[in-house]
């Protein structure tokens, strides 16, 4: 059962990560790929607070989310002021910089990773309780982001994303909104990091590099950008599929290339055949360009 629990927890965490990443790049239209670094910040902060400073784990996990939130505001403030594309450059720089720092600071465990991290719930209430905790956090995150995206603030986000100039002309502050979107999405990634680290109890900087960014991007794109269910389906499918493949007794020479081909093919197929992903976004969240294209077709 521990295997099923571990997969269930990973799926729940990837749902949080993909949903919050979708909130930033899909709903917010902010181009960033640094989501895994906020996941890392949450994980490292929570682990170090609990292990080295004696903070109770139930406080260390939200503290990890808070530290990710503060870091995201620190990145967003200067980079969003210039132009949207600069957020992408700043986010890559931030991701590489933070990972280099982690690799070179002795108290983070360096490049060899952090061990002896305290566990949470599993010793007292059982692994099932931790699964319930992770799943509850995933459901809570999805509902929160859905509530925001479908409410009045969501309509404002849609307007900001489609035409920032017109949005500003209406007297709304696009900068504040962008920072709020980026901070909320990043803090949820930090929270996921905290949940991860107190179950698996080992982290190393290599787990949060650019490859992780591309995995999250694939989950969002394959699942469906700007939809509630898209990132959920994408995260679950792309976490379950590699596991399912390993149960087929294929020789390693076939298994390795098969996994690579599968993921590459999925992205290509979805880009050309179904760009809207498995679950298409609702009408309101169709981009302006898509609406114009639809209108032309009609």
């Amino acid at each position: 059962m521990e295997y099923i629990y571990a997969i269930a927890i990973l799926m729940a965490l990837y749902v949080i990560l993909a949903t919050s990443f979708n909130f930033i790049i899909g709903y917010g239209g902010l181009i960033s790929i640094a989501h895994p670094v906020f996941y890392a910040l949450g994980a490292y902060s929570s682990a170090l607070l609990a292990r080295d400073m004696g903070v109770p784990v139930f406080l260390a996990i939200p503290a990890g989310g808070l530290i990710a939130l503060i870091a995201s505001v620190a990145v967003a403030l200067p980079s969003l002021r210039i132009s949207g594309d600069y957020l992408l450059i700043a986010s890559i720089g931030f991701q590489l910089g933070i990972l280099e720092l982690i690799k070179n600071l002795p108290w983070t465990g360096g490049s060899g990773g952090l061990t002896n991290i305290p566990s949470f719930l599993t010793q007292t209430a059982g692994r099932e309780a931790y699964v319930a905790f992770a799943v509850a956090a995933a459901i809570g995150s999805v509902l929160l982001l859905r509530w925001i995206a479908q409410g009045p603030y969501g309509r404002a986000m849609s307007a900001m994303r489609d035409d920032e100039l017109a949005f500003a002309a209406l007297g709304r502050n696009a900068m504040t909104m962008k920072i709020a979107i980026f901070a909320l999405g990043s803090s949820l990634a930090g929270l996921a990091g905290g949940i991860y680290v107190h179950y698996f109890r080992f982290i190393a900087p290599g787990q949060f590099d650019i490859l992780q960014s591309s995995a999250l991007l694939t989950m969002v794109v394959v699942g469906g950008l700007r939809s509630t269910w898209g990132p959920i389906v994408g995260a679950i499918a792309l976490e379950a599929l590699p596991q399912a493949i390993t149960f087929v007794n294929l020789p390693p020479s076939v298994l390795g290339p098969l996994q690579g081909i599968l993921f590459t093919s999925l992205v290509l197929i979805f880009m050309f055949v179904r760009p809207q992903g498995l679950i298409a976004a609702s009408e309101r969240w169709h981009g302006r360009n898509e609406e114009v294209r639809d209108a032309r077709r009609a």
Binding site: M1, E2, Y3, I4, A6, I7, L10, K103, N104, G110, S111, G112, G113, T115, S119, T122, F200, R201, F202, I203, A204, G206, Q207, V233, A237, A240, Q243, A244, I245, T246, F247, V248, N249, P252, L255, G256, Q259, L278
Partner: protein, 381 residues
Amino acid sequence: MTLHRRTLLGGIGISALAVPVARAQSAAFRFGLAMPLTGGQATYGQDQVKAAQWAIEDINNAGGINGKPLAAIVLDTQADAQTGIQAATRLASVEKVPAFVTAWSEVVKAVAPIANDSKVVELSVGANSADIAKLGDYVYTTFPLAAVDITAVARYAATTMDKQRAAVLYINNETGTVAAQIYRDVFTKAGGKVVAYEAYDPKATDWTGTLLKVRMALPDIIHIQGLVADTPQVIAQMRQLGISQPISSYSAIYNPKLIQQLGPAANNVIATSLAPGVDNSPAVKAYVERWTKEVGREPNGLPYTQYLYDAPYLVAAVFKSLDDKKIPITGENFRKEMLAIRTFDLPLTGKLTFADDHTVSKRVYLMRVTDGAWTQLAVVD
């Protein structure tokens, strides 16, 4: 929704395929083998798995364990912590093996909580991080940790080779940082001076800047602590830049491929080996001949494959002892019995004794490339 249903049915179908395989192996004594079969380290991982599979074949051809076969459940770790965690979790909870063999320091450390929580013995066979000794009750290594061979090569350079000035160049990851510190400390303590101490990024493909700094420091010897993939490239670039001093490294580069890759540039490269070579053991000679005959080449990382060949023999000895005593096969019992036996006489790496700190100590063979071939330079006890 159609796509959804198909995916679900596909998943069920795939899971169903695995059931007969698991049932067929249920009568055997089973252990896990979590190694990199894909990814950047696969070249080495696959050869190591092949060595372990040959050992299982040989054990079973010789009658198995009290008439029952030995079987390994092989899973891929990609030498990656997260994939390793999933593989180890599956071995402990789905396959329910009492012990599993794994390697690569990051994976060994990442899966340690699973071994300790599930009370399943984790045997690290090939990783050399110093932290491995402190990972918990159920984590043991059959491979000497970095302190053993790095101490030997550093002391040999400072004393026997009489080198006064050493440059240390290391990869900035778990493999490099700890071992580089050991080299620096031992070399300095033996009377030498470390004149350059430079790290390089694991993703680096050009080392010109770092190497020029090393050249400027005018060392008598250069120690490189890198990975099997990058060290030959670093040496090649070093020679291209006119750095002709002797180079030392550790067991990862003791590999016939190094000579093929570097050609004459490999001359005067010193590596360590923690297992006897073809000149020291007829069994190793026969083993290497088997590789040449069956695979058409020598194995990548010969000493590592020797340890992997020996791992199933160790596991089989513990299974046999448990079976003889009619003790149930569980991880807890496996650990107790392994420690009760404690000393194992293994075919390709010789005698192995688990120390109280979960580590092992071995003889270090210093190998040097001379005229395009690895030759034994010295043996350090």
